[in-house]
């Protein structure tokens, strides 16, 4: 396996003439957790979506484990949690997970789906339609969907936003387990305390530019706003 799980080299992204990302060069070693922070509109979501293969850079190169994000075997190794929960309201919890298990070619989608329903505390409502779920249950199902295929790289766009206590606990547990198992995590977040708790590396985006990247330090743990104070816009 390549040393870098995520590698961006001179990446630009334009929306029309507006550069949403400007010359981003960023590397995340395998097995580490990067907290991607920045104000609203800084380009965090744009960068994460590019890493997940949803869009291509206008200039520069993005590689995941040394390959293009759009290659089939790269996609097999990525799990993504975006702003939406990415599960179908018309299907039940088990049907949703079985569906994605089959799309990812898991050897036993039924068993994997059942295991993740249990891990996320949803086994009791496995046959319930998602449209009847509470918000917290839907979010836990989204976590199960993203982790179902055992991804080596987890890309998460503000994963703690609007989660209830139980969903936060579930997410923190599965993230810690994933990191302990050598998985790589890149998450954008405004919840600095939760982020610094998990992160090994931190990157700050400021109006599309990379203002800071480096290992998480004790200053950041003690004062989660430290990076903003040192490198953010005034």
């Amino acid at each position: 396996m390549s040393a870098a799980a995520v590698d961006c080299a001179g990446v630009w992204k334009f929306y029309g003439d507006y550069p949403a990302l400007r010359d981003i060069s960023l590397s995340v070693p395998a097995g580490r957790c990067l907290a991607l922070i920045g104000r609203n509109g800084a380009g965090k979501t744009t960068l994460l979506r590019m890493l997940a293969g949803y869009s291509k850079p206008g200039k520069g190169l993005v590689t995941i484990f040394g390959k293009s994000p759009r290659e089939t075997d790269t996609r097999q190794r990525i799990g993504f949690i975006g702003h939406g929960i990415s599960v179908y309201d018309e299907l039940s919890a088990i049907e949703n997970l079985r569906l994605f298990g089959r799309l990812y070619g898991l050897p036993n989608p039924e068993r994997s789906a059942s295991e993740w329903l249990e891990r996320t505390g949803l086994e009791r409502v496995r046959d319930g339609l998602v449209r009847e779920f509470s918000r917290g249950m839907r979010q836990r199902l989204a976590v199960a969907r993203a982790f179902l295929h055992g991804p080596w790289l987890l890309l998460m766009d503000e994963p703690f936003t609007a989660l209830d206590d139980r969903a936060i606990a579930v997410l923190q547990t599965v993230l810690r387990d994933a990191l302990a198992a050598g998985r790589t995590v890149v998450m954008s977040t405004h919840q600095l305390r939760e982020a610094m708790d998990l992160a090994t590396h931190v990157a700050l985006l400021n109006r599309g530019r990379l203002a800071f990247q480096g290992e998480r330090t004790q200053e950041m743990v003690k004062d989660p706003g430290w990076v903003y104070a040192q490198y953010g816009e005034s």
Binding site: K56, G84, I85, V87, D89, R102, L103, Y104, G105
Partner: protein
């Protein structure tokens, strides 16, 4: 094998979701019946006139009713950002196109199969004299509409006025298929077998189906991700 499995999984998912909500199929079926009914009142055609216009009439109904189903195909993926999950999954664009295309085809064909006898009753036409040939033309014509509609549905899914934009974009592209299907259906409803000039129209239908299917298979990834 994995490719075929993924196609089947997507088809089954779309059909299951549609059968639970019945949003598109109910609207499409009701629309087809209402249009057939209104046109039967509007024209009060004789049997001979009906035979002359039957192909055009049927395919206009199939086209408009089918558009309702095609519009829903990718729009169904928008709530909860489900399209993102499909694009992120290790599923080739071609499998996504075929999976959605087959589900659309099944739904549109189901509407057509119900609308056809209703057409026979409203217009007092014995339409089944060349039943199997007519089925062949319907399959080929419907697949052509479905292939074009599915790939353009992906193209317009994030457009705000997609319900308007999809028909505006696809109807001109569908003209060759509609011409062939209308001509063949008119003669088949009149009881003529497929031979002579009709074979040329049949070959045109097959040709366009192959071309549009091949283009869609190749272009789907680009349409979805750019």
């Amino acid at each position: 094998m994995r490719f075929i499995r993924q196609v089947m999984v997507i088809t089954a998912k779309d059909l299951r979701a549609e059968m639970r909500t019945k949003e598109a199929i109910n609207a499409s079926f009701a629309f087809a019946i209402v249009v057939l009914l209104i046109l039967s009142f509007a024209f009060e055609p004789t049997e001979d006139t009906t035979r002359e216009i039957s192909g055009g009439l049927l395919w206009i109904v199939f086209l408009f009713a089918g558009t309702l189903i095609l519009n829903r195909s990718f729009a169904r993926e928008l709530p909860n950002d489900c399209l993102d999950a499909l694009i992120a999954a290790p599923v080739p664009g071609a499998a996504l196109f075929l999976g959605k295309g087959l589900a659309n085809f099944a739904l549109i064909f189901a509407v057509e199969i119900v609308a056809l006898p209703v057409f026979g009753i409203f217009y007092n036409v014995r339409w089944a004299r060349q039943f199997w040939s007519l089925m062949l033309v319907m399959v080929l014509g419907t697949w052509g509409l479905t292939a074009i509609g599915t790939v353009f549905g992906a193209l317009t899914v994030n457009i705000r006025l997609r319900e308007v934009m999809l028909p505006l974009l696809v109807y001109p592209v569908m003209i060759p298929i509609l011409l062939g299907a209308m001509k063949l259906s008119t003669d088949l409803v009149a009881g003529q077998p497929i031979s002579g000039d009709l074979m040329v129209w049949l070959k045109l239908l097959v040709g366009f189906d192959i071309i549009f299917t091949a283009l869609s298979l190749v272009l789907m990834d680009t349409v979805l991700v750019g």
